[in-house]
């Protein structure tokens, strides 16, 4: 089922996606004009898949994902359109009571900073047990404890029995993130949304956490949406990639084509500007200009002021490009002139 062509009313036919987002738009009300944080976002997520969501700060990647669970307070956030189909229901219209059963049970979320996500005056173990018992009253305290210890062990917390009774400050940053993952897994969710889970951590710890996530994914057939700004992490773990710019999905494909033959000039620029470990090249190719202001976003294609391909063509300035199928491999791109981009690698550019 294609991303663009599937009906807006909900998923249909073929292998059913676990999650189906259609035309999602989110605004933030401010003193001035509303900020269009997410614009017309559509995608599908299948069971057992790791979807990488890449973009820079302000691209709408975190806002769109917290909107799936209606976590953004309104006002200022306002969902201006779209639907989020998950297990036969549109999460944007179900009553709050029903949504509460989905949050933390069917869909779990972990965040960048594990320090802020735990209650500092309650032991890690009791917080995870509590998360379990909130959703299932049938679990006895004793069983919740045993299962929590199992979970801590699963995510690689050493001596989990001792660690169960410790407070968050007694955990290191990496251990806290592991505990966070354990808590997210407490109710055997079908989908885990991980928002920059390793950004606050050192590389050696990041490697540990990514490995843990991949192992759990393989063992439990969990689906994961991994939000990150780091193309290296995408290359390591993602099956499919969604690239966002200025609130819009600009490119989506399986991970190999994204790296081998990126079709959007923004994706190309992003990949080219990564500093490399194996050699120091001269100047790094860089994307000129500054990240866009979303209040309002640039007219036409939001990337056009920074685009090397556009060269200020009329069409880029006036007409918003649709996300269209580029070829048979479910590679979708939102660029008027992507067919001109068949030439390899961009040339090293100026610093600005």
């Amino acid at each position: 089922m294609g991303i663009v062509t599937s009906p807006a009313g909900g998923p249909a036919g073929g292998s059913e996606p676990l999650l189906s987002v259609r035309n999602l738009s989110v605004e933030f009300r401010t003193d001035g004009a509303p900020v269009q944080a997410v614009r017309d976002m559509s995608f599908d997520l299948y069971s057992g898949e790791i979807l990488g969501l890449v973009g820079e700060s302000g691209s709408g990647k975190s806002v769109s994902m917290s909107t799936l669970l209606r976590l953004n307070p309104s006002p200022p956030a306002k969902i201006t359109g779209g639907s989020v189909w998950f297990m036969g229901a549109d999460l944007l219209t179900v009553p709050e009571r029903q949504l509460r059963r989905v949050r933390g049970q069917e869909i779990a979320m972990i965040f960048q900073d594990p320090t802020m996500s735990f209650n500092p005056v309650q032991t890690i173990g009791s917080q995870i047990s509590e998360a379990m018992r909130v959703h299932d009253r049938g679990v006895s305290r004793r069983n919740a404890r045993l299962r929590t210890i199992e979970l801590l062990d699963l995510v690689g917390v050493p001596s989990p029995k001792v660690r169960y009774g410790q407070f968050p400050h007694e955990y290191s940053g990496g251990m806290r993130q592991r505990a966070m993952i354990a808590m997210a897994l407490a109710n055997k969710p079908k989908l885990l949304i991980a928002d920059e889970p390793t950004t606050a951590l050192d590389v050696t710890v990041q490697a540990q956490i990514l490995e843990t996530l991949q192992e759990i994914q393989r063992e439990t057939n969990l689906s994961i949406i991994l939000i990150t700004h780091d193309m290296g992490i995408i290359a390591e773990v993602a099956d499919r990639v969604l690239v966002m710019y200025a609130g819009k999905v600009v490119e989506t494909a399986e991970v190999e084509p994204i790296f081998d033959a990126p079709l959007h000039p923004y994706t190309r620029g992003l990949l080219a500007s990564l500093p490399r470990l194996d050699a120091s090249v001269g100047d790094l190719p860089s994307i000129p200009g500054q990240p866009p202001n979303l209040n309002p976003p640039p007219a036409g294609c939001a990337f056009h002021p920074r685009c090397e391909l556009s060269q200020h063509r009329e069409r880029c300035r006036t007409e918003l490009p649709d996300l269209v199928h580029a070829d048979g491999r479910q590679h979708d791109v939102a660029c008027h002139f992507f067919t001109e981009l068949r030439v390899p690698a961009p040339v090293a550019g100026e610093e600005r």
Partner: protein
């Protein structure tokens, strides 16, 4: 590089600039201890050895990268070089002048020569000052005339790629990358010889990082300034630095030319660090064996005896807990390593991952 006549720049131009390649900064035995005090009586209970007997040097026009993870002492080292934190022991010499013994007042003339750029351009710029005032402030402190300050600010804005009309604006009107340009302009105002860059890219978006990397490289080419680049990001360090020092728990464990250290790392910590970086292409998944270090960083107030890395090291033997390995050239390699068993990673390593402590022989 400067268009302001010397007469208007105070004594800025009087200073002798070192020749490219000449030793600019020499640091020997630099040690910084932070006291741990009891809450009630404020008694000194012990010390955190944040930086422990570090030697390093930077030549004119050169970039030294300092890499390491949180808590390894890399930022403290940078601040101790600037004398923002007074070192507990050791010497910091700038072109032969000892800085550690100088009073605050006596240090002032040397402050021009070493400047710092901080990580977060959102909190390092005063939100109530205009860009012009921000960049002119160090010039004012050094007693440079108002007219000279004006033209110098214009010149600096151009140098870092900002527009002249940006001078009137306030920091909140700029994006992160532009703010970092302002911070760099301010640091360059006094034509320093050495710039300490403490994680200058970490707060910036990926597409902007490359712009700042290129700006820093161009400024170095044009001004033959030296950099100490402090970063946790090994790829960024590789991009900018000539030489690199890898720190672990307050000590340098391996150092050398970037090329040598990145292609032939001999210290197990450097090897683990390099292996942990994600491969930049999905086709190369699993190609490089990731060394997953077991356990956490030991507490710096009670570091392990002997080699500080031994508690997480797969090569550790009895000797590692008895004897602290010195940072020296070993086993025929051309760059120094602080490992008794300095060697390239063999195909079978790490064969004993997660051995919690040394003490047994293999």
């Amino acid at each position: 590089m400067s268009t302001v006549p010397d007469s208007q720049r105070g004594d800025l131009a009087d200073r002798q600039r070192p020749m490219v390649g000449e030793e600019l900064l020499v640091v020997e035995g630099l040690t910084v201890d932070f006291p741990i005090k009891s809450r009630v009586l404020r008694r000194r209970l012990g010390d955190i050895h944040a930086v422990d007997h570090i030697d390093l040097s930077v030549a004119a026009g050169e970039t030294l990268g300092i890499v390491g993870e949180t808590g390894c002492g890399k930022s403290t080292t940078g601040r101790a070089i600037l004398q923002l934190i007074r070192p507990t022991a050791g010497s910091v010499r700038l072109q032969g002048h000892e800085l550690t013994t100088l009073s605050k007042k006596a240090l002032l003339p040397y402050r021009r020569d070493i400047q710092i750029v901080l990580q977060d351009p959102y909190s390092s710029l005063d939100p109530r000052m205009t860009v012009r005032a921000i960049i002119a402030e160090p010039l004012q402190v050094q007693g440079i005339s108002a007219a000279a300050r004006r033209s110098r600010v214009d010149e600096l804005l151009e140098l870092v790629g900002l527009q002249p009309d940006h001078a009137k604006r306030f920091p909140h009107e700029f994006s992160g990358g532009q703010r970092q340009r302002i911070a760099i302009a301010r640091a360059l105002a006094l034509e320093p010889r050495l710039l300490v860059l403490d994680e200058p890219l970490s707060a910036l978006d990926v597409s902007i990082q490359a712009q700042i990397v290129n700006l820093l490289k161009r400024l170095q080419r044009e001004m033959s300034i030296s950099y100490i680049l402090i970063s946790h990001d090994l790829a960024v360090v590789r991009q900018i630095s000539d030489r690199v020092a890898v720190m672990y728990l307050g000590q340098i464990v391996e150092t050398g030319k970037c090329e040598d250290v990145y292609t032939n790392p001999t210290h197990p910590y450097t090897q683990a660090l390099l292996s942990a970086i994600p491969q930049p292409h999905p086709a190369r998944r699993g190609e490089r064996k990731r060394i997953i270090l077991q356990g956490d960083l030991p507490r710096p107030e009670a570091p392990p005896s002997g080699c500080r890395f031994r508690t997480r090291c797969w090569r550790a033997e009895q000797r590692c807990s008895d004897e602290m390995p010195e940072l020296t050239v070993r086993n025929g390699f051309d760059h120094p390593s602080a490992c008794h068993f300095a060697a390239l990673l063999s195909g079978t390593e790490p064969s004993r991952p997660g051995r919690s402590a040394a003490g047994t022989t293999p």
